[in-house]
Symmetry: C2
Subunit: 344 residues, 2 copies
């Protein structure tokens, strides 16, 4: 029921998912108003047969504060979707609803599996020269110590492998330079942990802001403050340049004629950075899979969010994370070797 | 003598500066090899009459470590240029040379005027929908407390007024949201200081990453870690989109024909984000004006760096900073009012 469009986007997305899965088995559990959902299912043909409806009339409004959403949330469509994951009835929950509410409820019902995190991390799939780079945290953890950064690396690795199909994703720590001594203590300590902690990870080293779009690594790790600002700065820059380009291609008759001729390949370019192709970010660090879709996503975008959830659930995503988390626990709790005794 | 091109870029830039200043008085003090500089001046016509040469054969190499540059730097062209500012012989120093060396020497010779800073801050002039936004620190201060952030605000205000001609620049603090409670302690404390410190500043509030390119405010303040990453992320994004666009406009014959027709206005668009139009960043927080040009700048770019130095020297930049710094000193050193006694 969530997002700017509710069932009018969610229902048409299901057919797209079935198509993209090309025969792989899937079933959908739809939480919301039974009458509305049943009316919508009539237009879905065979896909309707893959759906079970769990009726509730209670919904979380898009502008509800997280604390209020938590207090009044029990029994809402969002709550029930997460509860179904907890109860093992569903492999994953997908929502385009209120982000703060989804985070708070997911944390309450599923609990954090990453012990260093205050709240779930959010990963962005960033289009690059080479494909997609996963950048995290772009969300809520505004101050991250070294152990948190390593947790992001562990989850980013599993995410990139499950969703973008890499076999051994390379991981970079976002910093202001690539030399060993650059940056603040947290990133330097995280680099030390990633190098020496015995993880099953392909750690590359420090990367800089421009390495993201270059696709230098598959996973870029940073704190939620820097990650959020980097993501929004990039979005702002992309919009600004697109605006300049649109202005340039409509500036005069000659330019307009040129734009008309080039339209086919300009459109192909736009598809390469189409936001709906990368919609759907899992809330990372929970005991269970919850994927957040952008509130304004269309059916194509929402289908992508469901596909992300499917890929995570169908892969060894959770086990991969658990294995590396065990290494982290050991690396943090093993005392440093005693300094060698001085020669007498 | 510095930069990738030395006098072959610096000398031709002087005529451009004279032209841009349109009759305003200026003289140039050139530090470097006398024979080389004299040979170059022969091609400059009347501009040669505005130049004094200070001979030295010693130069700082572009790859010299700052500590080495400091130790061996005395008497080099870079050292002498800064010394001339200290001695009041020159109003400003401009260099395309080794950034670390320039920072270290400037700090040693001129000393910091901003007591909270470890080293000079660097400001970027960012092209936006509305003009130029000054973003700082994009440089070296990787961990910034609230007082440092306020110092950046004070210097960014004076910079934007002197160089971009605003009368009362609006100032935003970069954060992950605009609400009062967002972000970490340092930005929240800095906002409190900026609101209540009695500064002669137009403080707008928190801004987000996408507000930079929107031009929401004239000055965006952030720590050197986040600022550096935001700047490089934006550069990477701009390059990526330009690459996609170039690919699109050369993808096939039709697109190539279209690009040819639109070339005039595409070129005009590129000029709007031309790096040489914004080249030249002052090292902020020193007792004296030192402007760093990009090492690879061409004559147009280097001329812009000199123009930035001129604008700073010819304005009330230094006084404006000093006045607001006095407010900061007061705001920090005034004890908070005692908590009201509890009612009995």
């Amino acid at each position: 029921m969530g997002g700017d469009h509710g069932p009018s986007v969610v229902l048409p997305s299901l057919g797209r998912v079935v198509q993209r899965l090309a025969g792989k088995p899937v079933r959908f559990m739809l939480h919301g108003d039974q009458a509305r959902l049943e009316a919508g299912l009539k237009h879905l043909g065979e896909v309707a047969g893959l759906c079970d409806i769990r009726h509730t009339t209670q919904v979380i409004a898009m502008d509800e504060k997280p604390a209020v959403a938590l207090r009044r949330g029990k029994g809402s469509s969002m709550w029930n979707a997460i509860q179904a994951v907890k109860d093992g009835e569903a492999a994953a929950a997908v929502s385009a609803g209120n982000t703060g509410g989804l985070m708070a409820m997911s944390k309450l019902l599923l609990r954090m599996a990453a012990p260093g995190l205050d709240r779930p991390a959010i990963v962005a799939s960033w289009p690059t020269v080479k494909g997609y780079t996963a950048v995290l945290d772009v969300g809520a953890n505004v101050q991250s110590d070294a152990a948190q950064l390593v947790e992001f690396a562990i989850m980013g690795d599993a995410f990139h492998q499950a969703v973008h199909g890499s076999t051994r994703p390379s991981i970079g720590l976002l910093n202001v330079g690539s030399e060993e001594m650059k940056g603040h203590e947290e990133v330097r300590e995280a680099q030390k942990l990633l190098r020496e902690g015995g993880f099953d990870l392909h750690y590359h080293g420090f990367v800089e802001g421009d390495d993201i779009a270059k696709g230098t690594v598959d996973v870029v790790v940073t704190d939620g403050f820097t990650g959020n600002i980097a993501l929004k700065t990039a979005e702002g820059t992309a919009r600004f340049i697109s605006m300049l380009m649109k202005d340039a291609l409509t500036a005069n008759l000659l330019a307009k004629a040129g734009a008309l001729l080039a339209m086919g390949s300009l459109r192909a370019m736009r598809n390469r950075i189409d936001p709906s192709a990368i919609n759907g970010g899992p809330l990372l660090g929970l005991n269970g899979i919850v994927v957040k879709s952008h509130g304004g996503a269309d059916a194509k975008g929402f289908a992508n969010a469901i596909k992300v959830a499917y890929d995570l659930a169908a892969s060894d995503y959770a086990e991969r994370i658990a294995r590396n988390m065990a290494h982290l626990d050991k690396a943090i709790h093993t005392p440093a070797p005693a300094a060698p005794a001085e020669a007498v």
